[in-house]
């Protein structure tokens, strides 16, 4: 019984607030270290590609951000579902806190993709299934942020946002499998769970380090953001007014 209690304790915003600060600090530190290692490897350690030359190096930003853009959406949808079913306040705050990071990741994936597409394919943008579904993901993030921001009653805003997030989940497998289901200009997956990877070992290691760096970054900023959201939503409670940083 006590084990159950200690786990559920952190679903209360008051208990999670200090924990989020600690997690945020650790994740930010990890992100800085991994980014430094990952970027150094991206530019100086990973070998030149046999076909695309140096230009392929944008993959070390492009793929991690594209993965994060899909993964963050799934995490948000998970929290939105939990919030909808159990009426827990913190889960809706988590979904809200992740949204800007997800939108930024999607934007980076689209933007670096355009920079990569122009020299390699010969086009900044094409309306193939992979690119279009990723653009729709960007609109879903923007739509969620706008919808939640436009409703003053937070409970109603959370519920509306959650429904939008859950409906949009359909898009994630479409993005992921688009290159398999249809002929696209975008090439197939380089790294897949079932078929392993088709890139050089050092290239793959670099990409994975960059991916973990992006993970740590996303966790860090989401934690700092959720702290702000908690303070904003709970500003009338006693525990907030007793915080040393608020009393000052």
């Amino acid at each position: 019984m006590s084990g159950r209690l200690s786990l559920y304790r952190f679903s209360s915003p008051a208990a999670f607030y200090p924990l989020a600060g600690t997690i945020g600090k650790i994740a930010a530190l990890i992100a800085v270290v991994l980014l430094a290692i990952g970027l150094y490897m991206s530019f100086f350690v990973a070998p030149t590609d046999y076909k695309q030359g140096e230009g392929y190096r944008i993959i070390f930003i492009h793929v991690p951000s594209a993965w994060m853009s899909m993964f963050i959406y799934l995490v948000m949808a998970f929290w939105a579902g939990i919030g909808l079913v159990f009426n827990t306040r913190l889960s809706s705050m988590m979904a809200q806190a992740l949204a800007p990071t997800g939108a930024i990741m999607t934007f980076i994936a689209l933007w670096t993709g355009a920079f990569w597409g122009k020299p390699m394919w010969g086009a900044w943008w094409v309306w193939d299934a992979r690119l279009t579904s990723e653009l729709i993901l960007f609109f879903l993030y923007i739509g969620f942020i706008a919808l939640q921001g436009s409703i003053d009653d937070t409970r109603r805003a959370d519920r509306a946002g959650a429904v939008l997030l859950l409906v949009g989940v359909v898009n994630i497998p479409i993005i992921y499998f688009s290159v398999k289901w249809w002929n696209t200009l975008h090439q197939g997956a380089t790294v897949s769970v079932t078929e392993g990877s088709s890139m050089g070992t050092i290239m793959l290691q670099t990409m994975l380090i960059m991916t973990f760096a992006f993970w740590a970054y996303s966790i860090a900023v989401a934690m700092y953001r959720v702290r702000s959201i908690i303070l904003e939503r709970e500003k009338d409670t006693r525990w907030v007014s007793e915080l040393p940083e608020v009393r000052r």
């Binding site: 030149t48 695309q52 079913v85 394919w121 010969g122 859950l166 359909v170 249809w182 090439q187 290239m203």
Partner: protein
């Protein structure tokens, strides 16, 4: 049955219905979401006549002829069928014999596909020139000319 069990049930049923609906939609759309047609589909007359479409495949090795004023003629193949393509303009850097391309244009009356845009399609393999070289040596001849332009840096 508690209220939250009910909500969970609604949520799960909703997701299943949504998934089924989108599966049906995409099943019905089928190949219409594909970005290009293959030479085989051209040979089977599955492409729109008198209409712009995209043709995708590999550039047939040994088929590229450069004419005057940026005009290029080459053949696009999927190893089953081949389509002749004519294009005037600047080709992307990755355009090479044996490399994937997607050309947009329409079928001429003489059976030559007249392209007004050619994009290069690359695959999902990334490796160092040394590794590519070693692989190529293992293959030897036949496609050996593909590696010519890729001396180890």
């Amino acid at each position: 049955m508690k209220a939250r069990h009910k909500r969970l049930g609604f949520l799960l049923v909703g997701l299943v219905v949504l998934g089924a609906a989108s599966w049906l939609v995409f099943n019905a759309l089928g190949n219409n979401l594909s970005y290009f047609f293959s030479p085989t589909e051209v040979a089977e007359n599955k492409v729109p006549a008198d209409h712009v479409f995209r043709l995708g495949g590999l550039v047939q090795p040994g088929s590229v002829e450069r004419g005057e004023e940026l005009t290029v003629r080459f053949e696009v193949t999927d190893n089953a069928h081949t389509v002749k393509v004519a294009y005037t303009g600047i080709l992307p850097d990755l355009f090479k014999e044996g490399q994937g391309v997607i050309a947009q244009g329409r079928m001429g009356p003489d059976g030559v596909f007249v392209a007004d845009e050619v994009l290069a399609k690359h695959d999902e393999n990334y490796m160092s020139p040394e590794v590519a070289d070693a692989l190529e040596k293992g293959h030897q001849k036949g496609i050996a000319d593909m590696a010519k332009g890729n001396k180890p840096l």
